[in-house]
């Protein structure tokens, strides 16, 4: 019975009626009725109806932890690709280092990965990111896995249950950015399993009972080692 579709998929333009509901994210209202604006899962909570997207591009929000790749650098800033339509500048003052003007390249170079936080997003979607928070840093080594940002909550799981599961089995270090960029570092065989598990979560994100299936998948690999 695990394959029953418990979540209702809605399609753009589909009416989302219900008594006294307010339109939330992924919806729009027209002529007093609410419609879905996205392909996604209908979600009703505290009088608001939302559509949880199944795909789409990441839109930066202040406070999000993201993983970005340095694509360009200037004398006092770097440009980060955070897997969104907008490039994110990281200013030298937003780092924990004391950087001389023009010396940015000795700290971060093109292609480097950083775990950063979105600082501000303005009306015309100009983004700024920072490294001045606990735990934010340059990511040395490891590999980058990109998935759709819409599937990040499934990779993290309830209270981080899914990532902890993968971490425990594969003994990898994993960071999941809100933008769908995931950094994995560990022994090559273990990292390969972790990446495969993430890819499977991405592919089967809508299925019910995913955590158990991932658990079984990891068990098949690590029968001898044990959780």
């Amino acid at each position: 019975m695990e394959n029953r579709p418990t979540r209702e998929v809605v399609i753009p333009g589909q009416p989302l009626d219900g008594r006294g509901l307010r339109p939330g994210s992924g919806t729009y209202s027209e002529g007093g009725r609410i419609y879905a604006a996205l392909l996604g899962i209908r979600d009703e909570r505290s009088g608001t109806v939302n559509v949880i997207p199944l795909s789409g591009r990441y839109m930066p929000r202040p406070g999000d932890a993201v993983i970005g790749q340095i694509t360009d650098l200037g004398p006092g800033h770097w440009l980060l690709d955070i897997n969104s339509p907008y490039p994110a500048p990281l200013h030298a003052v937003e780092t924990p280092w004391r950087i001389d003007y023009g010396d940015t390249a000795s700290y971060l170079r093109i292609g480097d990965l950083v775990l950063a936080e979105v600082l501000t997003v303005d009306e015309i979607r100009r983004v700024q990111v920072t490294l001045n928070r606990d735990g934010l840093r340059k990511l040395e080594g490891g590999q980058l896995v990109q998935i759709s940002y819409a599937k990040v909550p499934r990779v993290i799981g309830k209270k981080g249950s899914m990532v902890s599961l993968i971490k425990n089995y594969t003994r990898c270090r994993i960071f999941v950015g809100q933008n769908g960029c995931i950094w994995v570092d560990g022994e090559p065989q273990d990292a390969a399993v972790a990446v495969a598990a993430i890819r499977l979560i991405e592919q089967y994100a809508q299925a019910v009972g995913l955590t158990e299936a991932v658990h079984a998948f990891l068990q098949r690999k690590y029968e001898k080692r044990g959780g």
Binding site: I11, A37, S55, R57, P85, P87, Q189, L200, Q206, A213
Partner: protein, 276 residues
Amino acid sequence: MEDIEHLEKKIQLIDPSGRRLDGRRPDELRAIKIEAGVLKRPEGSAYVEWGNNKVLAAVYGPREAHPRHMQNPTRAIVQARYNMAPFSVSDRKRPGPDRRSTEISKVISEAFASVIFLEQFPRTAVQVYIEVLQADAGTRCAGITAASVALADAGVPMRDLVVSCASGKVGGVVCLDLNKDEDNFGEADVPMAVVPRTGEIVLLQMDGHLTPEEFDQAMAYSLKATEQINELQKDALRRRYSVSLDEFRAVQPPAPEPEEEPKYDVYHEDQPGVVE
């Protein structure tokens, strides 16, 4: 050599019983098959088979609009590209944009610009690629139908799916969804695209001549057909996201552990082909 495709000839497009060349009644559609999410690289994609038409649509974006002067600081722009493959028609089509495909690309961009919530993505571009693999009249309609499924698949917010269908006049009779021969030898072809929920028309073109009455009849046929096509679009999108965990359970983990002992030291007692 004689140009047989454009020979002046008398063919009977409608038989005495009112049937068309391919046996359809005037208000009948060709067989339509839609599949969503067929490509891996773009954010969204769809494949449509519409009679003998085969059309692939892919959507990228929203992404940074280039060149920079194309960016609109208040909204996204829609860049649609309709392209016919060289092998899509009976006589090889010279590849690349031409007058016809440039015009179709423009009207398709405008059709989608009116349903996508462009103001949510300032300074970006939504790119829609429509590739006609096999053409048999009505490719722009098949392309729009595919592209709107691809847009939904890409997670682009929009007011509704866009559905498109053509009607025309063949042998003096108003008909729905003309095929190649009817298009070539008929009197008129009217492609249109609608927003099914509101009935808004986002694309309307006409090749040939119709009286106002015939035009109304053609519109009525197309509008009725779009309801049917819309259901196929929705069905394709729902199928895309109905996954089963059974396949997942069969997936084996990658990267076997390296063998501890070298293989040549191992003696296999039950090794096939080894005779004592």
